[in-house]
Amino acid sequence: MSGPADPIRLPPEPPPKPRLWRFSGGVSPPYNKTMSSVHETTVARLPARLILPLHQHIGEAADPLVKVGDQVLKGQQIARANGYVSAPVHAPTSGRITSIAEYPIPHPSGLSALCIVVDSDGRDQWRERAPLGDQFAALEPSALRNVIREAGIVGLGGAGFPTYIKLNPGHDKVIDTLVVNGVECEPYITCDDRLMRERPSDIIQGLIIARHALQARQCLIAIEENKPEAIEAMRRAIEGLENFAVVPVPTLYPQGDAKRLIKTLTGKEVPSNGLSMQIGVVVVNVGTAAAIYRAIYHDEPLISRYTTITGTAVAAPRNLEVLIGTPIRELLEQCAADSSDLGELIMGGPMMGFALQSIDLPVIKTTNCLLALARSKQPPAPTVMPCIRCGACMDACPVNLMPQQMYWHAKAKDFEKTQEYNLFDCIECGCCSYVCPSHLPLVQYYRYAKGEIWTAEREREKADLARTRHESRQARLEREKAEKEARRKAKQAAMPQDMGQQGREAKQAEIQAAMDRARQRRDEAIARVQHQREPTPPASAAAPDGSRPDDDHQT
């Protein structure tokens, strides 16, 4: 077990160490990384059934392109991006579509969402592939982005933001630095570490492509100092490349947060509510870079990823190269997890991950780690005590917020006040909860407050829409009434003014005559019918009280 107490010293390197800055706050939790990082990554077994949620990324869910019963090939697009902020989904193996329905997906809510289920045929047969290869350099950045979009690549660090949007800074922005995030600051997670050690050239090739798309000047590869092997491997891979540098950064959580990393590398801070592009920096994860390389040089869409399977319940923790959609149960089995002693199953790390409700959920594009904690080894949940206003959270906050104030107002449901304390700059890193001596679930309060604010905003929008619609309806009714009134008036005006008593009588007589004619015709008709069917006298029976059904027609 490596702890934060024994920093690993690096041998002196030829490139001069660039100046680094320090963000405020941060914590050093026990890293627990060696249990999985020492093992070579293996390819997970091909599962019999894959469940592919259509919403694995930030943005709109993808639109299915296949029907139940369709045969699909490995890498075939089975759902297309729906709108600008969206990503397509591809079949991770060849097989048959057996269901398109709602299944539980890995999400903090535990809710279900639309998924495509592929039953593998075991052949793992690829579709036709036409890799771009080195020709990418001749492509316009926008065409290149389109290829990346069609490959379904999203940020693999955990957020799942569609990568092609990140690579599109807009005409007015110049990107100076492309930062590659190999920091991996969360405890337990080692998938980026293993990827950097095992496939450094894939990452570098991906970076060259991303740099071309962004037209960025330089490329910095940031790796935490506690991964010396990865730093070594990446340094070897960039030999001979200009404007590429590997920058070891101090081991401190949350160093891997994009905005903290930018501060560490450049000393610049991204404005509140702003994007890193505004200060000329774009950050991509190492896994994302490798996925870009696979898409361009092998025409492989994002159908697999490195995932760390670790935790106290796992006997053989390690990294697996997993097809997206593989049920978590199979991965736990392959890593000899003790399912009878499984307490909490967390997707992501212990600081920012969320608990999963079932082991039958599938791996999605953002599943960087599955942390299975043994029930028998889990410490009892600490008692939550009142806030003593010690301010430890404030010192730990890497965003310079005042967590205790936000907690106070969120608890009192005074969400406006939480916003005054810049709630929406909170990155939910969990440093405040980690240091809280009262064990307050602070991050939970901020998530709750954010959710309430978003809901209120949505409701306000809906209310505004309803008000507009109601008002236009009222206006329409008024208008129609006015038009009717105007028509009536016009008709009245068109009528002869000198109708007088005589005219009205004449009109009455006309109406009377018309009614008489109608009655006469009806009587004749009745008589005719009676004449035809002599024995039955139904009409005569009904006639005296005049309640014949066809009376209705006259009124």
């Binding site: 809510s109 309430e452 809901t455 809906k462 209310a463 309803a466 619609r469 109601h470 309806r473």
Partner: protein, 182 residues
């Protein structure tokens, strides 16, 4: 003596002119307090408050004819917001106006609908689409859940269903209350 009267008189005239000018120059059209109240109401236009819509209720609150606790769709949030705005004490919802219910949306059973247009006439936000003797349907995104279309339907084909959460509308629940030292 005369100088003092003259000076005060002049001042009075000058300030009178300034006030007169200000009242014309900075005249506020309509009643801004009604707009502010209306902005806080949920705009379901359901009439449960006893007024024919949210704006009439807002006018009634501003005129002192109605209390702030008569809006069941707004619930506690709206009452607190109104109390804040008007500087009054929040009070519980008046049970005579109804109870707080989960957010609903109307659904027309399209197999039963006879196309009578009665619900279309009842809908305060024009969220029902259809024509005489043609099937009607509800535009769910525009429906406020006011239930005004349910009663007029002669064949009872409209039902109110609670809005289901999906992963886009889901929100984190409130954390459990802290333990107090015993």
């Amino acid at each position: 003596m005369l100088a003092a009267i003259l000076a005060l008189g002049l001042l009075a005239v000058a300030f009178g002119l300034m006030l007169g000018f200000a009242s014309i120059r900075f005249k506020v059209e309509g009643d801004p307090i009604v707009d502010k109240i209306d902005a806080l109401l949920p705009q379901t236009q359901c009439g449960q408050c006893g007024f024919p819509g949210c704006r009439p209720y807002a006018t009634a609150i501003a005129g002192g004819e109605a209390d702030i606790n008569q809006c069941p769709p707004g619930g506690e949030t709206t009452i607190i917001a109104l109390a804040d705005l008007l500087g009054r004490d929040p009070k519980p919802l008046n049970p005579e106006n109804g109870a707080v219910k989960p957010k609903m949306v109307a659904i027309i059973d399209e197999n039963i609908c006879i196309g009578c247009t009665l619900c279309i006439q009842a809908c305060p936000v024009d969220a029902i689409l259809g024509a005489a003797k043609h099937m009607h349907t509800i535009i769910a995104a525009e429906c406020t859940g006011c239930e005004l279309c349910v009663a007029p339907c002669p064949v009872d084909c409209i039902s109110m269903v609670p809005i289901q959460h999906n992963i886009l509308t889901w929100k984190w629940p409130a954390p459990p209350p802290d333990m107090r030292p015993g």
